[in-house]
Symmetry: C2
Subunit: 252 residues, 2 copies
DNA sequence: CGGTAGATTGAGAGTCCTCAAGCTCTGTGG
DNA sequence: CCACAGAGCTTGAGGACTCTCAATCTACCG
């Protein structure tokens, strides 16, 4: 099975040519805002799958916008146990918390090959001052991310294994869908079972067995790195998790 | 044992007389900012323990700053299972996420009697526009809250019962400490074991047994609604959780 | 003095974990 | 062209951790 690659590759030199914004999936910006974003951006960066975008514990001096690919935020305990906090899809802002953190900060890792727009963090306050609307947008993105983490906390804290897996499959599919990744009724699914286990607070083995159970029930199909939701209603019911349509998010 | 009540009671009429700000535990503000905050505020509100500050699922039209007392954010599943997302202490901003949420929003409940400063949410964008520095502060508070939720997700996802309980005792003590609640080496501890269980993703019974185990080990004392950390180092070691000193937060 | 909220304890069951081994697929090098 | 190694997936078995059920106890209140 051959599937065309994601429509967006490397970020263009000018934000006015941004392929991501051209998809119309993000809230519109004024010319002035767009120009400000462009001069705010300092670099364009490509990283391979598995690369560390922000090392754990270490304060980064940069903010990023994920332009293409998947990434994830995580924290580890000292004996190596790892918890994935949330997944990052194109358009997501990376590294904002670090600006305000005093202690241990989460790490961010590229899950697939990624392209990133880089912003110097020192210019965050000037951005608020000179373009309050962009500051407001950044707060919006921060609130949205916390919303995802809230949901994952409910999952890790209160759902059983079957419910957790169903929840995450729904969640990732919907996120992929909003990012325009659906092709032939499925999305590219680069997540390993280890990623899923780390995100859900389950062991790898139990994650595997739970996935099989759901597959046997006919709720989803996971093959050749692609995910189909065969019975979204049933998945929603199992997970007790219903994603609502949402406004177009801002894109910085 | 009688302990003097919290030094701050009901919020004063004028923000210039704010007892919370007078503690010097918050970042300084300019006169202009303070005046803007004061005119932003629409009400003062007192609620009894157990009151619903923001109902789950329902969009509130108001923002709050917790002036005194404890509260918590939570989400429930449809069968009643409840997960506490984080606890709120004096100075915390409440209801920001709702501004940006499209779907299901968490509820907020008063854990003790609380006093609140109320702000109309419609004026949030004007605040960003007219006082970008306050907008920046609000983003800071949002990032700080996400930081707590991140930590709790690691706890629920990857720590065992003993580690979880140790982590939460540390966390709540430190928060109380920063809020100036320490008296005679202990803080007022209004949390029930049900609250702890709901925050940690444990059952009530297992929470009880785990608390007893830690108490038997001499790590803490919990009596008459007060909490002592008898061996903070050991608690940190058990929990693999080390809270760092932090900058003074902004207060809106 | 009964009623209620919260804390405590014991017992048995079940979910989930760890250990261990084998499998599939892909890329590499002889 | 095939052996080999590595990453990821799969499966079984036994045990540990945590849950549910049920009962008791204490403190506080009307």
């Amino acid at each position: 099975m051959t599937i065309a690659p994601s429509p967006v590759g490397c970020p263009p030199v000018a934000c006015t040519d941004c392929h991501l914004r051209a998809t119309q999936r993000f809230a519109p910006v004024s010319e002035g805002e767009l120009a400000y974003i462009e001069q705010f951006r300092s670099e364009i960066l490509a990283m391979p799958a598995g690369a560390t975008i922000i090392p754990e514990y270490k304060l980064s001096t940069r903010l990023f916008t994920l332009y293409s690919g998947w990434a994830f935020r995580y924290k580890s305990l000292s004996d190596g146990r790892r918890q994935i906090l949330n997944f990052l899809a194109p358009g997501d802002l990376i590294g904002l918390q670090e600006e305000f953190a005093d202690g241990v900060t989460p790490g961010v890792e590229a899950l697939t090959e990624v392209n990133l727009c880089v912003f110097p963090r020192d210019n965050l306050w000037p951005l608020f001052r000179e373009y309050p609307s962009l500051g407001y947008d950044i707060t919006w993105l921060a609130a949205r991310e916390e919303h995802w983490v809230d949901d994952h906390l409910v999952t890790a804290g209160r759902r059983n294994a079957e419910e957790r897996v169903a929840m995450l499959l729904m969640h990732l599919y919907r996120r992929g869908e909003r990012a325009g990744m659906v092709q032939e009724g499925s999305i590219d699914f680069p997540f390993t079972q280890q990623h899923i286990a780390d995100a859900l607070g389950l062991s790898l083995v139990h994650t595997n067995k739970t996935l099989r159970r759901l597959r046997t029930l006919g709720l989803h199909r996971l093959e050749n790195g692609r995910l189909w939701l065969l019975d979204p209603k049933a998945l929603e019911r199992v997970a007790d998790y219903y994603e609502r349509p949402q406004r177009r998010l801002p894109l910085i």
